[in-house]
């Protein structure tokens, strides 16, 4: 209950922006289709900052824009190896529930110059902020493991921060470019765009897009989960046939 009240208070503070501005934005593709030759996809986010409806007041910059792209969530664990009696093995493990499988931040400047750390953390703009939600007694351990998890995700290209990712083409018109990697997990994605002025959020907007398998890839993925027995049988038959056919083909 207290959390709800806090959340409402937080929402209320957002509803009263410092300046009456509104954001009109668009994503270049509302669905990214994974085909057999899928090797990543380039996406564009663009928009313009306009005065709020009914507000005669002209809006003036300088504005800063931050685009946060979030992938579907998963439960992920981070594990640590230690040396016991000469053998390296996993001994520590921390689970992060509902951890984003993809997270990229594009901004028009250095994040710590755009706003303060509290705003960045409470709006989940920093990668590390996703690891703070775990509620364990051993907070220090989960903080260390969380940081390592972010590093591992970054090495796989699934997490990233590009502090020059947003370009202003005029005072109020911006565009941002993002390349989704080929290992981007399929599912619903959300792009959150924040407009900052003097360190405060003055407008925000969210757009969804989907990364999904289509055609044959979709058919295979669906049948492996919906008809697992049949799928397994087909795999075996395919293997037997390929083995036999290979034998016929290369018989010498």
């Amino acid at each position: 209950m207290r959390q709800l009240a806090l959340a409402l208070l937080f929402m209320a503070s957002l509803l009263a922006p410092a300046q009456a501005a509104r954001l009109i934005s668009q994503v270049s593709n509302d669905s990214v289709e994974i085909t057999s030759s899928f090797a990543g996809e380039r996406m564009n986010f663009f928009g313009t900052i306009v005065p709020d409806a009914g507000s005669a007041e002209a809006i003036t910059g300088p504005f800063q824009v931050v685009v946060v792209v979030l992938g579907p969530t998963q439960n992920r664990v981070a594990r640590q190896m230690t040396n016991n009696f000469g053998i390296w093995s996993n001994t520590g493990q921390v689970e992060f529930k509902n951890f984003p499988s993809y997270f990229h931040v594009l901004s028009s400047g250095r994040l710590n110059e755009i706003t303060d750390i509290t705003t960045l953390t409470t709006n989940f703009i920093l990668p590390e902020s996703h690891t703070l939600v775990v509620n364990t007694d051993d907070w220090w351990r989960s903080a260390v493991y969380g940081q390592q998890l972010v590093r591992l995700m970054t090495e796989q290209g699934l997490f990233g921060v590009q502090e020059n990712g947003v370009n202003f083409l005029s005072d109020t018109f911006y565009s941002a470019r993002l390349t989704l990697p080929s290992n981007a997990p399929p599912g619903p994605y959300i792009a959150l765009t924040y407009v900052f002025k003097d360190g405060a959020i003055i407008a925000r907007r969210s757009e969804g897009f989907a990364v999904r398998k289509i055609g044959f890839e979709r058919f295979l993925a669906l049948s492996s989960t919906q008809q697992p027995l049949l799928y397994g049988l087909v795999c075996v038959l395919l293997a037997l046939f390929t083995g036999w056919f290979g034998g016929v083909l290369f018989k010498r």
Partner: protein, 308 residues
């Protein structure tokens, strides 16, 4: 040329997949092993998620062993009767192996158990085979005629009850050791994601005294049936068999296996065993080193709770 794997959810170079499939297929045809113990680590190393790699390789092993098994069958080198006993108990063992696999994966200890299992099994099997084959080769160099089987070579295993006659292997032995071998290989094979040919071949040779000309064919026939069952088990339980990944590996594997089987004809039995022993030992050493050398990254991550 990149190809997207729908279950692994990543794109991989097609020629790389066919290439490693072919190289491992060649070895599998040559030695009568499934090749899983080489292919699974190779795939994991190239970034394929561990459960997908293990489950898909079982599918590829079926294909690679099918062409090998058929090639041996045509030469009359398969004891189907013996293989049937091995398969029946092997499938039972596979049920246990797949269940333990899931438990260990959730506990985060799968890598450790796989490394230890490979080290112990491959290390001991490899050493035994190397010693035996070197001795046989040296004896032959000295001109000592080694007969294939000696009448007094029977050991305690041949004295057990419930004897069955295996005509093709010219054996009249108890089924109990046969069933135990099958059960053990079914369990270990599905747990480690390998066909188990590298344990099967020496077990048949040294424990049951199966003659050399039917050992590899029988082992391959057993691998085909058992891995087919394991593939279905993995598909139903972990749903991580990537049919496209498996198919790419199969195409290379079946071609390679044919050339391997042909090349095998130019080598003598003990030479083949010696080479296989070296290969097995090399993999064992690699796994042993991974246990004792400090890893380059102390941290790792995994998705838990299955795929959405």
């Amino acid at each position: 040329m990149q190809i997207y794997l729908p279950i692994a959810e990543m794109s991989v170079n097609l020629f790389f997949l066919v290439g490693i499939g072919g190289a491992v297929g060649f070895l599998s045809g040559l030695f009568g092993v499934g090749g899983g113990f080489l292919l699974t680590p190779l795939l994991i190393f190239s970034g394929v998620p561990v459960p997908v790699a293990v489950a898909s390789v079982t599918g590829q092993v079926v294909a690679a062993s099918t062409s090998g098994a058929l090639a041996h069958y045509r030469r009359g080198a398969v004891d189907l009767h013996l293989a049937m006993y091995l398969v029946l108990s092997g499938v039972l063992g596979a049920f246990g192996g797949v269940a333990v696999f899931a438990l260990l994966r959730d506990a985060g200890q799968l890598d450790l158990v796989i490394s230890l299992g490979f080290l112990i099994l491959l290390g001991s099997v490899g050493t035994l085979m190397l010693v035996e084959s070197t001795r046989a080769i040296l004896k032959q160099r000295k001109g000592i005629v080694v007969r294939e089987r000696l009448p007094n070579q029977h050991n305690w295993i041949h004295g057990l009850p419930m004897r069955v006659r295996f005509k093709k292997s010219r054996l009249y032995i108890s089924v109990l050791p046969v069933l135990v071998i099958g059960l053990f290989i079914g369990f270990v094979g599905s747990l480690l994601g390998v066909g188990g040919g590298f344990i099967m071949v020496p077990a048949l040779v040294y424990l049951l005294r199966v003659p050399g000309n039917v050992v590899i064919g029988t082992s391959l026939a057993q691998v085909v049936a058992m891995m087919a069952a394991t593939t279905i088990l993995h598909a139903v339980q972990s749903q991580s068999v990537d049919i496209l990944l498996a198919f790419c590996l199969m195409v290379g594997g079946t071609a390679g296996a044919q050339f391997g089987a042909s090349a095998g004809k130019y080598l003598r039995g003990e030479q083949l065993r010696g080479l296989l022993a070296l290969l097995v030992l090399a993999v064992a050493i690699r796994f042993g080193l991974s246990l004792v050398i400090a890893p380059s990254d102390l941290f790792s991550m995994a998705v838990v709770g299955g795929r959405q």
